[in-house]
Symmetry: C2
Subunit: 558 residues, 2 copies
Amino acid sequence: MAKLLRVNMTDHTVREDEFPKEWERFGGRGLSAKILRREVPGNCDPMGEFNKLILAPGVLTGTAAPTSGRTSVGGKSPLTNGIKEANAGGQFGQKLRRLGYRAVIVEGRTKDRGTYVLTITSKGPELIRADELRLMRTYACAEQLGKNADKRAAFLMVGPAGELGYGNASVAITDLDNRYPTRHAARGGLGAVMGTKGLKAVIIDDHGTIALKAEENDDYRKKISDFVTTWRGKKNAYAKGTAIVVDMASEWGNLPTRNRRSGSFEGHSKINADAIFATFETRGGGMHNCLAGCIVQCSNTIYNEKKEYVTSALEFETLALLGANCGVDDLDAIAEFDRLCDELGMDTIETGAAIAVAMDGGVLPFGDVAGMRNLFAEMEKGTPLGRIIGSGAAVTGRAFNVERIPVVKGQAVPAWEPRTLRATGITYCTSPMGADHTAGLVFGGTKSWEGLAVKSRESQIYNAVVDSSGFCQFQEPPMEAIAGFYSACLGETISKDDLRNMGWEILQDEWAFNRDAGYTRAADHLPEFMKVEPIPTNKMVFDVPNSELDKVYDLNAK
Amino acid sequence: MAKLLRVNMTDHTVREDEFPKEWERFGGRGLSAKILRREVPGNCDPMGEFNKLILAPGVLTGTAAPTSGRTSVGGKSPLTNGIKEANAGGQFGQKLRRLGYRAVIVEGRTKDRGTYVLTITSKGPELIRADELRLMRTYACAEQLGKNADKRAAFLMVGPAGELGYGNASVAITDLDNRYPTRHAARGGLGAVMGTKGLKAVIIDDHGTIALKAEENDDYRKKISDFVTTWRGKKNAYAKGTAIVVDMASEWGNLPTRNRRSGSFEGHSKINADAIFATFETRGGGMHNCLAGCIVQCSNTIYNEKKEYVTSALEFETLALLGANCGVDDLDAIAEFDRLCDELGMDTIETGAAIAVAMDGGVLPFGDVAGMRNLFAEMEKGTPLGRIIGSGAAVTGRAFNVERIPVVKGQAVPAWEPRTLRATGITYCTSPMGADHTAGLVFGGTKSWEGLAVKSRESQIYNAVVDSSGFCQFQEPPMEAIAGFYSACLGETISKDDLRNMGWEILQDEWAFNRDAGYTRAADHLPEFMKVEPIPTNKMVFDVPNSELDKVYDLNAK
C-alpha cells in the first residue's frame, strides 16, 4: 500500500497516511497540485505555518523507465505568491518510491527556531534536531550527513539561502553518487519554504527495499527496451548538454545580455559548449547522467585550471543568466558562481537576473566578476545587500529603483527571450508557474503571433504530464510512449487522450489554486519594458494581444 | 472655466485641458479616482511611465468653508499595487483652485534622469529643470524654492525618499506659513511615483487671483457662519491634538507596542498629550492650524530643550508607530524622527512599522534610539539597509524573514489595532486603500463582530465623501452640512442621499481600479499572526468571518 509521509514541523511529529486511491495516476507536479489544492489555503502566507512543502516523485519514478527518476518539489511560492512546482534529478525520488512513499508533506513551522533533519529508512521516518547544520553550505552538509549514513543514502537539503528565507532559494538533491548536492529544484523560492519551516535536510536510505512491482512486469520491461532502442536510433540533441544552444540563442537575439538590454552577446563563443568541451580535454570532467537510468546524459562536470572539480552541471540557463546577462564572458567565473549557487542553495536564474538588475541600477558595473563574487559573500553572510539580491530580481529592482525589471508574477524571466520567442512569452504570461521555461518552451513565433497561444497551451499540457511522470523533459517522451508506460505500470489502460486530459486537469488545479491566492488575468503580462523596448538586433517587442492569450485557457480555441 | 493641468514628464510639456463637466461634483479623492479609472491601466507598473500622479483639491477647497483646504494626492500605489489617495493640509490646494485648476495630472516618466520643478502662477504653468535640488531635504528645498518665489507661494514636494523610489515616500506640502514642509500626503508611497517621474516640487503662487465665485454667494456665507457657530458650541475633541488618545489607546490594547507584540505600552504617559503640553510651557510651541480657515487646530509645534523648533505636527500615529511600536518612550527622540520623516519625505506609519519589523527580526533592539537614528541616515544615503527599511514593512519583513509582518495589501497597518477594533479591521481588509485608518476608522467592536461590516461600510462611504470635499475628517462635518455646502457652491440641489451615492460611486471606482490591477477578495485579509496571536492584555484576535466582510460590498446588507 502506497503511503504519504507527513512531517509536522510545529510539533516535530511524523505520521504515515494511506495514499488516496483517487490520486493513483498523479505523481510529481500533478500530485503536488492535488495536495496543495486540498490542504493549503491559496491566500496563506507562503512563509507561514499554513503553507506546505511537497516532495513528490513521478508516477514512474523508482521503476526502470528511462530517465524517470525526477522529484517534484511543490508549495506556495514566496516569489510568485502562487502555486509552484520545481523538479530535479538525483536519486532522491527513486529511493522514496522504493520505500513506499508517494510523497512527503512538510507542514507547520518550527517555533523553537531549531534546525531539523528528517531521516527516512526502511525502519521508518524520524525527525532529528541538528542545529550544528544551521547555515551550513550544501557540499559540507552533504559530507556531514554522509558520515553517519549508508553510502546508498541520498540527500535533499537547503543551503543558507533557504534558511535565510531568500526568494532565490532552491532545494538541492544529491547527484548520482549521492554526495554532490548539484541537482536543484530551483525556481520559485521553495527552498525558503523548507528553510523557514526549520527543515534543513532529508536523508533517504532505501537499503533493504526491493524494486517496485512494475519491474517484474514483462510488458513494462518490453516498453522500456523499445523506448531505449528508439532513443538510441535518434540524434541526442543534448549530447553536449544544454550549453549547445548558446550560439544559436545569441544569433537569434535570444541570449539575455546586460539585463536584457540586448539579446546577443559578443562573448558567446567563450561560454558555449565548445568552450566547455575544451576544458574536458585539458582539465578533465565530461558528460554524465544525473540519476540512475538516465539515457540523455546532458549533465557536464566542470574542472578548473588546476584540474580540480568545480561544479556540475553548468547549464544554458546559468551561462545565460550569470554570464551574458551580467556581461560576463569568463567561463571559469560562471562555473564558480554556479558552484556558489549550489553551495548556498540558490536558483541560478533568479540570482543572475537579480544581479543583472542591480548592475543596471548602478550597484556594480556589468561584467564585474569581483563585484559578483562579493555579492555571493554578502548573500551568504545575510548582509542587507545580500538579502536584497537574495530576495530576487523583483525586490532588487524595486530596492534600487530600476526601470528594467524582467519578472512575471514576481519571478525572474528565464534566458529564453519572450520578445523573440513570443509563444514562450505567452507561456510566461499564462503559466500557473509564472515565468518558467520548463512550463512550456516553444520555439518559433518570430513572424506572426497568430496561433502561438495554442502552441503554448499544448506545450503547457504536455509539460504538466511529463513533470508528473518523473520523466526528464530533455528525453522528450512522446505522449503515446508515456501512455504505454502508465498503462503497464498502473495496470489499467491509459490512452494518449487520457494523459492530455490529466495534463489539463493539473493546469486547472494550479490555476484554481492561483485564483484562490488572488490571481486574475490582470497579472498575465510581461514587464512593461518588454512591450516598448525592442531587442536591438531583431527589433522585436512582445506585442501579443490579450485576445490571443485567452486561447490558452480555452481547450477548444484554435 | 475650470481646468485640468497636464504635466508630461516624458517630453517635459505642460497643457491645460477643460475640466469635464460630468465631474463637477467630484474633487479630491473622488476626482482622483475618476481620472485614474479613465486614464491609467489598472495593471500598469506603478513606477512606470503609464502611472499618473494626481494632485486634486476638494470640491470646496479654495472657498471659505471651514477647514476645507485639503489636497488629495492620487495614483497607483507602489506599496499596494492598487489605487491610492492620501491627502494633506497646507495652502497648496486653496491656491490651485484659485488659479482655476481642479487638478494637476503628472504623466509619463523623465528619460533624462533630470530633476524638475513645476511652477504655477496666474501667468500659467512652467516646467523647469532644477538638478541642484536633487536629493535635497524638504526643509532646505522649501528654503531654496522660497528664495525666488513670492511669500504667498506654497510648495508641494518630495524628499530624497521619493527620488530614491522608496515605498514609504510621502508628498509634502508646506504649512500655513508656506515654508515648513510639514503636511504630508503620506500613505501608499505616492512620493515615489512623483520622484520617479522626475518631479521634485511644485511651486504655486496665486498672487493676483481673486476668491472663488462661491465666496460671493450669501447662502454659502450663511452656511459657513452657521457651521462655525455649531462647531464652537461643541467640545473640540482635537483641542489637544491627536496625541490626546495615546493613554486611551494603551488602556484598550490599541497602542501597537514592539511590532504589535502588545497593544499596551508601559511608557505611554511619557509620550501622551500631557507630555507634549508640558513642553509648550517650558520650551515654547503650541497648538495651531495647518491651513487657512481651519477651526479644528489639531496641529502642534514641538520645541526641544534648547527652545528651538523641531517639528510639526507630532500626531498620534507617529507617537504610536515611531514610539511605542519601536519600544521608544522618549518624546524628544520621536519628535526628532518625525522631523526626519518630514525632511526625507516619508510616511511615519510605514517607516515606524518597518523599523519595528526590523527590530523584531533582530536587526536592532527595541527601544534603540541611536540605532533608529542610524537607520534614518542609511535611508537618506540610500544604503542597502536604508533601501530595505525605506521599501516599507512588507519588504523589510521578507528581507529579514520576520514572522510578524503587519501589512494589508503590502501597506503597513496604522496604529489603531484591528484585533481590538474589529470594525476598523474590516476597513483595513476591504478598503480600496489597503490598511488605512482614514478610510474608515470605527470605534467599538470589542464585544461581537456582528454588524461591524455595515459600520465599516458606512464609515468608508462617509470618508470617501469627506476626502472628496476638501474638508478635514477631524472636523467631522455631518453629511447634511456637506450637502448644504455642495448645493450652495455648485448651484444645484445636492441631498444627503446624493452625497452617500457619490461616496459609494467613489468606492466602486476604486474597487474597479483594483480589480483591473488584479485584486480579488482573496487579498481582503489581515496578516496571519493577527488571526492566531492575541493581544496579551485583552486576548483578542481578528476573527471576523468572510461572510461578514462580504457585507461591505453590498449596499443592502444589514
